[in-house]
């Protein structure tokens, strides 16, 4: 009897002790690059987190632009003073994947399966879900409703409509409005979308071979090449050139800017899913994930707290709140089924299309040289679209340069 009492007493002491340890106040930093417009909403999420986990204090640290954040993270890796959690692009952390704390190890299978399929590969390192998606946008088709009544659903329709909508309105021999528009240098993802829709990819599955210039790649290059006469080419935001094209592919995160520009120009802007290519109508997801770091400067309690925050951010109610307030898209399947989100979609027409596109999407590859590959695509795609090189020649040139990056 005494032995039993002692065991119960010991168990109680251990449990109370663990509870006491778990409740020990802990403070973590969350480095982010969300500008002033988004900060109150991010703060709201952090405040809600504090209510759920009163012993954890999260300090939001705004680090400026994405480039500045990347620089700070890089410097902190070297200095050994990383925050517990930070917003990161995939290719920033690919070279430092070994110092990431795998959030997926602390998630149930159901929680992991809830993340949108298109977002899983770009958050998985060495087969383990390591980071979780946070502020994600999707490329969609914007169109001028006064010119386009039914948006194109196939490449063929997209081509025909682009051609028909390219016009010289004042008869001076110069085109005043193009059917479509591209920002090849700033947004080479536009080419990657056509590549995906043709069934292609930059590299094969195990990254040993460049597949950019295979049959699918050639189909994509020839298609974008056929659009050159009907495309307005710029490096600036499309909101600055809203009247220069009847329809264009752009990020969902630009909806507020594009709509405002369209209203100022006197027309209504529509949003549609992308026209389908030979293989699919998939679009590319952009935006950052959140990573928890596993470095000696962080205590176990801080890492655990950061994991809790990461999981909290992708809870259905939170990813929906964030999406409604920021213009980014919910990142979990269950979020799309919440009543809150359905209500939001019912009052925001464009969201129906964005949500549909989000469920048919792909992400960037995690190759450590992806940043350089993107540079090659940016330069090569611009050379094609500005007519400096023929599409297939440009494609071969890009493939050769990417081949060199595999070595």
């Amino acid at each position: 009897m005494l032995r039993k009492l002692m065991l119960v007493g010991l168990a109680a002491v251990v449990l109370f002790g663990m509870a006491a340890i778990a409740q020990e106040p802990v403070t973590i930093e969350f480095w982010h690059a969300m500008s002033s417009g988004h900060q109150p909403n991010l703060q709201k999420l952090v405040d809600d987190f504090k209510v759920a986990y009163p012993y954890i204090t999260v300090t939001l640290v705004y680090q400026g632009s994405y480039g500045a954040l990347q620089g700070k993270v890089d410097a902190a890796v070297v200095a050994g003073n990383l925050p517990a959690i930070a917003q990161v692009y995939e290719n920033w952390v690919t070279p430092i994947a070994s110092i990431l704390y795998p959030i997926g190890n602390f998630m149930t299978d159901a929680e992991k399966a809830d993340i949108l399929d298109g977002l899983v590969p770009s958050n998985t390192y060495n087969g383990v879900l390591t980071t979780v998606p946070f502020n994600k946008s999707i490329m969609v088709l914007y169109y001028n409703k006064s010119l386009v009544t039914t948006p194109p659903t196939t490449w063929a329709e997209f081509f025909e409509m682009s051609k028909a909508l390219t016009v010289d309105t004042d008869g001076d021999g110069k085109i005043n409005r193009y059917g479509t528009a591209f920002r090849p240098a700033a947004n080479p993802e536009q080419f990657l979308i056509f590549l995906e829709q043709a069934g292609g990819s930059i590299l094969n599955a195990d990254w040993t071979e460049v597949t950019l210039n295979n049959a699918a790649g050639k189909a994509a290059a020839e298609f974008v090449g056929s659009l050159i006469p009907y495309s307005y080419i710029t490096s600036e935001y499309m909101s600055d050139h809203i009247s220069d094209a009847a329809m264009f592919v752009d990020t969902s995160a630009g909806i507020a800017y594009n709509q405002k520009a369209a209203t100022n120009a006197g027309f209504e802007l529509g949003v549609a899913t992308l026209p389908a290519g030979p293989a699919n109508f998939n679009s590319m997801i952009q935006g950052t994930n959140v990573a928890v770091f596993n470095t000696p400067n962080l205590t176990q309690a801080q890492k655990d707290a950061a994991v809790l925050l990461a999981k909290f951010l992708i809870r259905p109610e939170n990813t929906v709140f964030w999406a409604e307030k920021s213009g980014y898209q919910p990142v979990t399947k269950s979020a799309y089924a919440t009543q809150e989100w359905l209500n939001w979609v019912s009052t925001h027409d464009y969201q129906t299309q964005m949500s549909k596109q989000m469920l048919n999407a792909f992400s960037q590859i995690l190759h450590p040289n992806y940043g350089d590959m993107r540079n090659v695509l940016s330069t090569g795609f611009e050379e094609i679209m500005r007519g400096v090189v023929p599409p297939l020649e440009g494609l071969e040139s890009m493939a050769a340069e990417i081949e060199a990056l595999l070595e």
Binding site: Q70, V77, Y89, S235, E236, G371, R374, N375
Partner: protein
């Protein structure tokens, strides 16, 4: 002692050395004490320069010999491989050409305009202070804000510049979207930005020229232009030399104007400069891959170019700069 050396340097006859040995010893002791004191006063400057100039420079050179690795910096020693890479990179040479193009046009044009502006301001304008402030405003305006205004002025459809061109029936120019006009757009902006600064420095120099030289020129019957060319310009040479060196170094480092104006390197990378190349290589633009070693190698090359040009300038202009 310093005065003696200066006198020697200026070719003046040496002062007779009449001091006897003990006195000389004492003077030497004073000299060494003063020298020690001088170095003591200079120490803070040496520390600051050492920490923020010399150490980063040698560190950059060291980094240029390594393949950067964030986890165990500086990574693997690869000798001159980064230099070999950049010398075989066509964009390095394109960016080098863009930089020389920019420097080669910006500096002479800005300097010529600055001399003309300074001459006009020196003519004794009634509203001299207002004119000076107006010209200087372009320089003290925050560069990013200023470039944003120029972005609007360069707009193809509703920009101010194309509006003025249209008054002369000149077709609209796609300043920011045509590879042929991208770099000229940066040059025009830079000339406007720096001409006021240079003019103010030159004006200060002009106002310090002794009236006696002008009087002498007048007595000799020199015309206005002859006086300007033979009196003003030669006696302004220290200031001209100063702004020349400063603007040369600054121009080789052009980056912000390009980055803000185009939100990138310009159409077809037509306005990409060497510093842009360095920052891009270091992974600081978009979400590029970080090649710190490669960026360091390019920055060492840029340092070499600026150093070489500064030495050439110093050598060539030494005989033409008049300090009295």
């Amino acid at each position: 002692m310093w005065k003696t050396r200066r006198a020697e340097a200026e070719g003046k006859p040496k002062q007779p050395r009449t001091a006897i040995r003990p006195l000389r010893l004492s003077r030497d002791r004073t000299y060494w004490r003063e020298t020690f004191e001088a170095y003591w006063y200079l120490l803070p400057a040496f520390l600051v320069l050492g920490a923020f100039v010399f150490y980063p420079f040698f560190s950059a050179f060291k980094l240029s010999l390594f393949k950067w690795n964030s986890l165990t910096p500086p990574g693997d020693f690869i000798g001159f491989e980064n230099y070999r890479y950049i010398f075989h990179d066509k964009y390095f040479w394109k960016d080098m050409w863009h930089t020389f193009y920019y420097v080669g046009i910006t500096i002479p044009v800005t300097l010529t305009l600055a001399i003309l502006v300074a001459t006009l301001l020196n003519k004794g304008l009634r509203a001299l202070a207002f004119a000076r402030t107006s010209f200087f405003l372009s320089y003290i305006s925050p560069i990013v804000a200023m470039v944003m205004v120029w972005r609007w002025m360069y707009n193809t459809d509703y920009g101010l510049i194309n509006y003025f061109l249209s008054l002369f029936h000149i077709d609209a120019v796609a300043w920011l979207n045509d590879p042929h006009y991208a770099l000229p757009a940066v040059i025009i902006l830079s000339v406007w930005h720096y001409v006021g600064y240079q003019a103010i420095i030159l004006l200060a120099g002009m106002q310090n020229i002794e009236q006696q030289y002008y009087d002498a020129a007048k007595v000799d019957g020199a015309t206005g232009f002859q006086t300007w060319w033979s009196v003003t310009v030669p006696l302004l040479s220290p200031q001209i030399f100063f702004v020349f060196i400063i603007s040369l170094i600054g121009s080789f480092k052009v980056f912000t104007e390009v980055y803000v104006l185009f939100n990138g390197p310009g159409p077809l990378r037509s306005a990409e400069t060497l510093v842009y190349y360095i920052i891009r290589s270091a992974g600081r633009i978009d979400t590029a891959t970080n090649h710190t070693g490669r960026a360091a190698a390019a920055s060492v090359v840029l340092f070499g170019i600026i150093f070489l040009f500064t030495i050439i300038q110093l050598t060539l202009t030494q005989k033409r700069v008049h300090y009295d």
